[in-house]
């Protein structure tokens, strides 16, 4: 890093995307994918902390088996709020809309996404949808759970229409982002950026975009049908009039199972980037990781029926979905072993982002394999709709997706804001989050084994000890997130100035200044090799130049 007389003075690279225009209007009406990404970051973090608070309240109630702290209705509304907020307002847009928006064009050498105006529209759809959903839920909260199962959702006395409308709009935002990413990757690659040179994060985001575009409209239609049914009593899912409530489950899970891959695929892309960067190694099995992303994106659509094993689904269909569910796990296994392989003969440096990769690896493998265990048709019978399922999907969504999100946030923070965060705090917060996570969710696996059904306001007293442990864990987890928020906000203002490439990374996004300039690159870049090719001569020279800077 260039020596500066005042180490903490804002000697940002100028002009950069953050500071070249400063009016509020220039932010709200921006077409710049980076600014839209930053606005999305604000949105999803707000949603995340709101959802987290709801979760903490739920966990406090669960300290006691009987009535305590909040009423049953409030409890039912809160777990709906928690689920809807975390799934639709945080996890689905978290990595694609924030980091995908910011880095996908940069990584392929483009100036912007293909349709910048649609990108802005996507943000406003998200904000509007989120506002309607949250407002509707807090005002006259829906109490259906985020799964909206009919006929309960169509007959509940609470007002569910605003939530459904909000989800519909947020879904549209997701579709627009997906369309944008697909077209960007197909048409805006810079000279030399062939398909087999795409960074792995781009592969992950591309596969995600396909899933978003294909699955989300089905959800949109489904929630509209529920809204129509609830508002006008059309009997669409009413068995008395020839309807079938299980049809809803099929339509819902046709979206919501692939939605898990919308949440996890881009996080997997992040992991690939981070582990290559901090191992200073070429991606070990590049093709395997890239194609398994597409594989997950496709096979992920063939497995939704494993949510219906005990919903009166035919034994035949259970077999079909059961065997197809096994295939998707294999693609995940390919990725996991290749990530571990990247470190082999590498030059591994343990920094906060890599810490999250270690967390990801353990939690994802355990969470993923418990998922396979659940898809092992027989074991789903006792586990279905118990805390075992709750623990499993929190391992995937918090343990894996959120770890990927945090890895991305720490890895790219210097690139996005031009400043470093305090490394010691980063590592400390990681251990707090990791420990808090295990203490929160391992007891929930055991609760599921013991037969504790999910969405229970009051529960038989013999489950209490494990609930208490889980609640204590949730406090640790909350503390960890607060710590992260605190030092990242602090770093925005007082963090050490980061050079263009503080990690010595060979990822293409690090060829831009930090923070990135408004046009990304000063001149159209030309790519001659894959990212993270630490062994190539030109790459080595490039890095030596950067590292030389660092040791000045």
């Amino acid at each position: 890093m260039r020596p500066s007389s005042e180490p903490n003075s804002p000697v940002y690279h100028q002009p950069n995307y953050l500071g070249h225009e400063t009016s509020v209007r220039s932010w709200l009406l921006t077409h710049d994918h980076k600014r839209i990404a930053i606005m999305f970051l604000g949105g999803v973090l707000t949603a995340f902390f709101a959802g987290g608070v709801f979760a903490l309240v739920l966990r406090i109630k669960l300290l006691v088996p009987g009535k305590f702290f909040i009423s049953a209705l409030a409890y039912n509304r809160l777990f709906t709020l928690h689920g809807v907020t975390m799934v639709f307002l945080f996890l689905v847009p978290a990595v694609p809309s924030v980091f995908g928006n910011f880095f996908l064009p940069i990584m392929i050498g483009a100036q912007d996404v293909a349709f910048p105006r649609l990108n802005l529209l996507s943000f406003y759809l998200y904000v509007t949808g989120a506002a309607i959903a949250l407002f509707g839920m807090i005002w006259n909260g829906a109490d259906t759970g985020w799964t909206f199962y009919t006929p309960y959702s169509t007959t509940t006395p609470t007002d569910i229409v605003p939530v459904l409308l909000g989800v519909f709009l947020v879904g549209f935002s997701s579709i627009v982002t997906g369309v944008n990413f697909i077209v960007t990757v197909h048409t805006l690659r810079a000279p030399g950026m062939t398909w087999m040179r795409l960074p792995l994060f781009v592969w992950g985001s591309y596969a995600t975009a396909v899933v978003q575009v294909v699955a989300t409209p089905v959800l949109g239609m489904t929630v509209l049908l529920v809204a129509v049914e609830h508002a006008f009593d059309f009997g669409i899912f009413d068995p008395a009039r020839g309807g079938d409530p299980v049809l809803f489950e099929h339509l819902f899970w046709f979206y919501s199972h692939p939605a898990v891959y919308i949440m996890i695929l881009p996080a997997m892309g992040v992991i690939s980037e981070v582990v290559a960067c901090f191992s200073r190694k070429n991606p070990f099995g590049y093709e395997a990781i890239a194609f398994s992303s597409l594989g997950i994106g496709f096979v992920g659509f063939l497995t939704w029926g494993h949510h219906l094993f005990v919903s009166g689904q035919s034994t035949f269909d259970a077999g079909v979905f059961g065997v197809l569910s096994m295939l998707v796990a294999v693609f995940s296994a390919i990725k996991v072993f290749n990530w571990v392989g990247i470190m082999y003969k590498g030059s591994v440096s343990f920094k906060t982002p890599l810490a999250y990769v270690f967390g990801f690896l353990f939690l994802f493998v355990f969470g993923g394999m418990t998922g396979v265990a659940l898809a092992t048709v027989l074991l789903d019978v006792p586990w279905h709709d118990t805390y075992f399922v709750v623990a499993h999907f929190h391992f995937i969504m918090v343990g894996a997706s959120l770890m990927g999100f945090l890895a991305a946030l720490h890895y790219w923070f210097p690139k996005m804001f031009g400043r470093m965060y305090p490394e010691r705090f980063g590592i400390a917060a990681f251990f707090l989050v990791f420990l808090g996570f295990l203490v929160t969710f391992i007891p929930q696996f055991l609760l599921g084994n013991a037969g504790m059904p999910r969405r229970y306001y009051e529960y038989p007293a013999h489950f209490q000890p494990l609930h208490v442990v889980s609640t204590v864990g949730s406090w640790l987890l909350g503390l960890g997130f607060l710590l992260i928020l605190a030092y990242l906000v602090w770093s925005l203002r007082w963090g050490e100035i980061a050079g263009p490439n503080p990690w010595g990374s060979e990822g293409f996004e690090w060829r831009t200044p930090s923070p990135v300039g408004p046009e990304n690159y000063d001149e159209t870049p030309v790519f001659t090799h894959r990212p993270h090719a630490y062994d190539l001569v030109e790459a080595a020279e490039y890095r030596r130049r950067e590292l030389g800077d660092e040791r000045d």
């Binding site: 049953a72 259906t144 759970g145 199962y149 309960y152 007959t155 068995p239 008395a240 309807g243 079938d244 409530p245 200073r280 070990f284 395997a288 094993f309 005990v310 034994t315 259970a318 077999g319 059961g322 065997v323 569910s325 294999v330 296994a333 072993f337 290749n338 571990v340 392989g341 470190m343 082999y344 003969k345 590498g346 030059s347 591994v348 440096s349 343990f350 270690f358 690896l361 265990a373 092992t376 048709v377 027989l378 074991l379 019978v381 709709d385 118990t386 055991l446 084994n449 037969g451 059904p453 999910r454 969405r455 229970y456 306001y457 009051e458 038989p460 630490y534 062994d535 080595a540 030596r544």
Partner: protein, 350 residues
């Protein structure tokens, strides 16, 4: 095994299925823990072994060899397919009741369980079954989706409105076991609990013989079966009281005999011919309307003399009377042994 059973917090193995479900559970959960720990340890080992010792330390290029990719595809695939095979065979076994199983009809509604035996008795909240005999459950719901879950038996199956689902179990261990609703079904979902009581066969036969239809229901209603069911029961009693106070019973009988107004016995879900020549299906809406606006749809053969109760009965009182009328089933219905809802002959393999 008993150590695993303890450390995994599993409930007692009270059904035949629970034993082999747990075997698979042990095998799979152990593999899962070993595999995830192994991956994490491998990562930590590689980190320690290849950690960066100087800031500009470089690495050599290593591409994944084909044999490695082949291994990491085939080994997990084989393992997972093996899991699937064992799991699916077991699943078919828990879904397919053995021939000669005893049938019990299960009906769920917000928020109670009702069990009917082909031999006669009904019961609410408590399912009594003989030990060492397979029991097949034919289940349906009256309103939203519920799920029949007995942790000690390791069985679970959703109850869907408008359709029947089936499940079965055999318990060799007499005792009382928790029955839970596992599918979220509304405000009191977590209180929709019941009990399965496994009796010695001789004891079960005695119980069955001693039960006239309906007796069990009355007994169970008084028993500790959770608030929802007793609310329901109280509502009926409340309806009877209000009907007496408001003077309904001066014109309407409850034993089927004709009087000034139509009898209430079996009124619910009856189709009545109206003065106008049209017919009306008696449901909650019609009953409520008749109390509030009696002249609207007068049943043929009766004089339009009923006064309106608009403003005289509160909404909860009206609801209580409706519940009371609903509880009055016709005599022929009552004298018949309880039977399951209509269903076509059930195909059984072997």
């Amino acid at each position: 095994m008993s150590f695993l059973h303890w450390i995994l917090f599993l409930p007692p193995q009270a059904s035949t299925a629970s034993k082999w479900i747990d075997q698979l559970h042990y095998a799979i959960i152990t593999t899962t823990m070993v595999a995830s720990t192994a991956v994490a340890l491998a990562a930590v080992y590689l980190f320690v072994r290849y950690r960066r010792r100087s800031p500009d330390q470089l690495s050599v290029r290593v591409e994944s060899p084909p044999w490695f990719e082949a291994t990491i595809i085939t080994v997990p695939l084989t393992l997972f397919l093996a899991w699937f095979y064992v799991g699916y065979v077991g699943f078919v076994r828990v879904r397919r009741p053995p021939p000669g199983a005893m049938d019990v009809y299960v009906m769920a509604k917000q928020w109670m369980w009702k069990f009917s035996y082909p031999e006669g008795p009904n019961s609410i909240g408590v399912l009594r079954v003989p030990a060492r005999k397979p029991v097949r459950l034919l289940m349906t719901s009256r309103d939203v989706i519920h799920s029949f879950f007995v942790p000690a038996f390791r069985i679970k199956e959703d109850l869907l409105p408008g359709r029947y689902t089936e499940s079965w179990f055999q318990s060799d261990l007499p005792g009382r076991y928790e029955l839970l609703c596992a599918e979220y079904c509304g405000l009191q979902h977590s209180l929709m609990r019941g009990e399965v009581e496994v009796l010695e066969p001789s004891e079960f036969d005695r119980w069955l013989a001693s039960q006239e239809r309906g007796i069990a229901e009355r007994q169970d209603m008084g028993g500790p079966i959770g608030p929802p069911a007793s609310d329901q029961a109280n509502l009926v009693a409340e309806g009877l009281r209000i009907a007496g106070q408001a003077g309904c019973l001066e014109c309407h009988t409850v034993d089927g005999s004709p009087h000034i107004g139509p009898t209430w016995l079996g009124l619910y879900h009856r189709t009545e011919l109206l003065e106008t020549g049209q017919s009306v299906f008696v449901d909650e809406a019609y009953m409520t309307k008749s109390m509030m606006d009696p002249m609207a749809d007068v049943v043929a053969g009766f004089n339009p003399v009923m006064p309106t109760f608009q403003g005289k009965l509160t909404a909860p009182e009206t609801a209580a009377i409706v519940e009371y009328i609903k509880s009055l089933r016709s005599r022929e219905y009552q004298s018949k042994p309880a039977e399951g809802p209509l269903y076509a002959p059930i195909f059984r393999t072997k």
